[in-house]
């Protein structure tokens, strides 16, 4: 029997409109069926990826739990009542992020997806289509909140010795809270597309920039204006005093944090337990009631605006005659150099153009590296001694490498597979296959070298690291850029997926996951081998004694040890760059499209 069979009576009748409940059940069956098939497919074809996701999520959860436990224990020792403010700040920030992320995800699924194009032509209620898409959007936008929020709240409960009722109330509180900003994002998306279709991108960008500017101003004024000693009780009081704006009682984040703090209070007697539970239930009811109210408004908005918005968006005049602001740069790359290298340069220009015109690629690149730059620029806000500065510098190199590895896996690894699909174009050109692979490698390594080395320089200068260690960090960074590019391009050419047209699906396959895992191992190896001797050297220097450690570690912490470690790092870098490239070139030469 088919799993999508409905339970309606077996009566032969003509077509008819479904009532809201029947429509809702039909969409629910569809959702369950697709979720089951996706899970089944993942279990059979992407076990490595699924296992990695589960293991890394558990690791991430555990690490966050440990971190938050330490933080709450520390705050507890300060004897200051700032947890409420901390939770309010955290939840109000997440509320804004959830609103934007669910709005953007909904925009993409409601107006740009093929599924929406099918559903709009079926006799389905507009509000049901929106509700169906909303389920997906709320899942994608809130899993991060759950992964980040749950270890924090569990850690708080454990540190304060909260009763069992606190843990029982956590899921309903978090779910009902997530609903409110997501619904607001949903309503904003529907209104924006229906009423302002032509300026929707400008409107979202303006709001986003204003929100970011507001957040930065708040963060800057909070961090810069405080005069007390960092991490002291007075410093916390002063800093959080500036964040009291997040404690507005009209905000759902306040209802959430206040409700949770009520139910988390340790109870001595049964009556105290029920009293705190009753108080918390009021806040939960407030969240649920507002969520349901917003759902009603969303339904009404969707029924009036969704089909109108869909039509409005489709009627936008396509942009023609775009300006080519970077044309001179492309021309410069194409024309400079020797004639033999021209095919590679032309391929590079093509990839550069595709990168510039793909908003997904450059916006993610800009956001992640922009956030890193912001963090590095402020890393000096806390005082470190010389030993820690050097270690933090290495950790920053590792962070840059890890972020770069996600980009090389997501965007560089699929490039050869996508070229394979267009082999009929490249196959007819006077370009040999090796040049295609090398052009991807140059594109990736040169493209990543500039921002990554600049970020390392910013981090080291902010931390006040001596020139010798800056040189070591920069060398590691260059090796990571070449190595990660070699791994992504080489494995991409060795294991191309010529049937798939979506780069994200290619990256999510076995080869992409393998590339990510090897990249992570490579980063760890490079950073650990380079960091340990440097750390021992710095520790020796800081202690003013000839050697604080003896034997092998003592030798490792000497100047010779550092030089040897860098030789090993360079050797590993060469191997990580060349070995996958050799494998990839060999496979790509004999590839049959």
């Amino acid at each position: 029997m088919n799993p999508l069979v409905s339970s309606r009576d077996a009566v032969f009748d003509p077509v008819r409109l479904l009532n809201a409940e029947q429509e809702s059940r039909t969409f629910l069956r569809l959702r369950i069926r697709m979720a089951f098939t996706t899970l089944h497919t993942m279990l059979h074809t992407a076990r490595l990826r699924l296992t990695l996701v589960v293991i890394l999520s558990c690791f991430f959860w555990g690490a966050l739990y440990g971190l938050f436990s330490e933080a709450f224990t520390f705050l507890d020792s300060l004897r200051t009542d700032i947890v409420s403010l901390l939770l309010n700040t955290f939840f109000s920030s997440l509320m804004v992020m959830l609103m934007f992320s669910s709005g953007i995800i909904l925009y993409s699924s409601l107006y740009c997806s093929r599924e929406a194009r099918l559903l709009v032509t079926l006799p389905a209620r507009a509000e049901m289509i929106v509700s169906h898409m909303f389920q997906e959007a709320i899942w994608f936008s809130s899993w991060g909140f759950m992964l980040l929020g749950s270890p924090m709240l569990v850690a708080y409960g454990v540190v304060t010795g909260s009763p069992w009722t606190y843990y029982a109330m956590l899921p309903p509180f978090m779910l009902s809270f997530v609903f409110i900003p997501s619904m607001l994002g949903n309503i904003a998306c529907l209104m924006l597309v229906a009423w302002l279709p032509k300026i929707r991108l400008h409107a979202v960008s303006t709001i986003l920039v204003l929100a970011c500017a507001g957040g930065l101003w708040l963060g800057w004024s909070t961090m810069s204006a405080t005069t007390s000693d960092r991490l002291s009780s007075a410093w916390f009081q002063e800093m959080f005093g500036r964040l009291s704006i997040t404690e507005q009682r009209i905000l759902p984040s306040w209802w959430l944090s206040t409700g949770l703090l009520e139910v988390a209070r340790p109870a001595q007697t049964q009556s105290e337990l029920f009293a705190s539970l009753g108080e918390a239930a009021k806040f939960l009811a407030l969240l649920v009631a507002n969520g349901l109210f917003l759902q009603l408004i969303t339904g009404w908005t969707a029924s009036h605006l969704y089909r109108l918005g869909y039509s409005q968006l489709a009627c936008e005049q396509p942009l023609r005659g775009r300006r080519r602001p970077m044309g001179w740069f492309d021309q410069f790359i194409s024309m400079s150099g020797t004639a033999t290298g021209r095919p590679i340069r032309l391929l590079l220009v093509k990839d550069l153009r595709l990168f510039r015109r793909d908003v997904t690629q450059w916006s993610q690149f800009a956001i992640f590296f922009g956030l890193l730059a912001l963090y590095f620029a402020n890393v000096r806000s806390f005082s470190y001694n010389a030993t820690y500065s050097s270690m933090i510098g290495f950790l920053n190199v590792a962070v840059i490498g890890l972020i770069l590895s996600t980009f090389t896996t997501r965007f560089i690894y699929p490039m050869i597979s996508l070229e394979g699909r267009r082999f009929w174009i490249l196959g007819l050109l006077p370009v040999n296959r090796d040049q295609i692979v090398w052009s991807k490698f140059i594109f990736s390594s040169v493209g990543s070298l500039v921002p990554c080395t600049l970020l390392v320089l910013l981090s080291d200068l902010t931390l006040g690291i001596p020139p010798m260690f800056i040189a070591i960090h920069e060398t590691c960074c260059v090796i990571l850029c070449f190595g990660l590019s070699g791994i992504a391009v080489g494995l991409g050419a060795r294991m191309p997926d010529l049937r798939e047209s979506s780069p994200s699906k290619i990256a999510a396959g076995f080869g992409g996951t393998l590339s990510l895992v090897i990249s992570a191992l490579f980063i760890m190896l490079v950073v650990i081998i380079a960091a340990v001797p440097s750390h021992l050297f710095t520790a020796t220097q800081a202690s003013q004694s000839p050697l604080v450690v003896r034997g092998v570690l003592g030798w490792a912490g000497s100047g010779t040890g550092i030089v040897c470690s860098m030789v090993v790092v360079v050797a590993i870098g060469l191997f990580a760059t060349l070995w996958p490239m050799i494998l990839g070139l060999k496979a790509f030469r004999t590839l049959e499209p």
């Binding site: 039909t26 194009r117 389905a124 936008e316 005049q317 396509p318």
Partner: protein, 246 residues
């Protein structure tokens, strides 16, 4: 069955469809022809509710596509130029979803799904995921889903793209039979031979305007070119309108 009443659709300053008035009765196969950018796809999108007219009304079986979109869709089957399917559903599951959306009773749905799968020779791969289908298989599945609820109006946008000669013949025979049984077909195509072979009437659009509406014989009479086939007449008509517009 289908009525366009002074319909205009604008994209910003560009007029995609200009003052289109057209009525297609029950049991007629109508072919809309025209060069790229003539406004055919916009016309079809307005007919199936993907677009709203800037001015005028579009009605299917008397139901306005803007005011009563659900009732209008209930009587319409649509085969788009690019098949829209759920990759993670099998062909059979997709047809069940469509049957449920059109409110078909279980027994009736089972019968119809079996009928359409047989008509379009889908049985062999009905339980495979749609992501594994070729373009032709996907197109046949979309045809099956569009005809599943026996619509009064079938809207086809370049229907033969991706179909092999056997499937093309199969679809043609099926359309002829359904039209004979009373279904109205509105088809946009560049395949002039198919329009010549099957259409009761043709409409030729160019730059948003309907340049000609009638049978092939009427077109020949209008152009005083009795011996020409549809392809020659079409090229003659569209080139003359192009030169007029210059």
């Amino acid at each position: 069955m289908i009525e366009f009443d002074h319909v205009t659709r604008e994209y910003g300053t560009k007029i995609a469809v200009s003052d289109l008035s057209l009525s297609i009765p029950r049991g007629e196969l109508f072919a809309l022809l025209g060069p790229n950018g003539a406004g055919k796809t916009t016309t079809i999108k307005m007919l199936v509710g993907l677009l709203r007219p800037s001015r005028g009304n579009v009605r299917v079986c008397g139901f306005d596509s803007v005011k009563d979109p659900r009732l209008s869709h209930l009587h319409t089957g649509y085969v788009p130029d690019e098949p829209c399917l759920y990759d993670k559903l099998t062909g059979r599951e997709f047809l069940w979803f469509i049957a449920d959306m059109f409110g078909l009773a279980r027994h009736s749905a089972e019968e119809r799904i079996a009928r359409e799968m047989h008509s379009f020779e889908l049985e062999e791969f009905a339980d495979d995921l749609a992501e594994s289908y070729s373009l032709g298989m996907k197109q046949r599945l979309v045809f099956a889903s569009a005809l599943l609820h026996d619509p009064d109006v079938l809207v086809l946008d370049e229907p033969m793209v991706g179909l092999d000669p056997r499937s093309t013949r199969l679809v043609k025979d099926l359309l002829e039979r359904r039209v004979h049984e009373g279904m109205t077909v509105f088809m946009s195509t560049h395949t002039l031979a198919m329009a010549e072979e099957m259409a009761d009437r043709v409409g030729i659009m160019d730059r948003g305007k309907l340049r000609f509406l009638g049978t092939l014989d009427q077109l020949r009479d209008q152009m005083s070119l009795q011996t020409m086939n549809l392809e020659q007449l079409y090229l003659q008509l569209t080139s003359s309108s192009e030169s007029r517009s210059r």
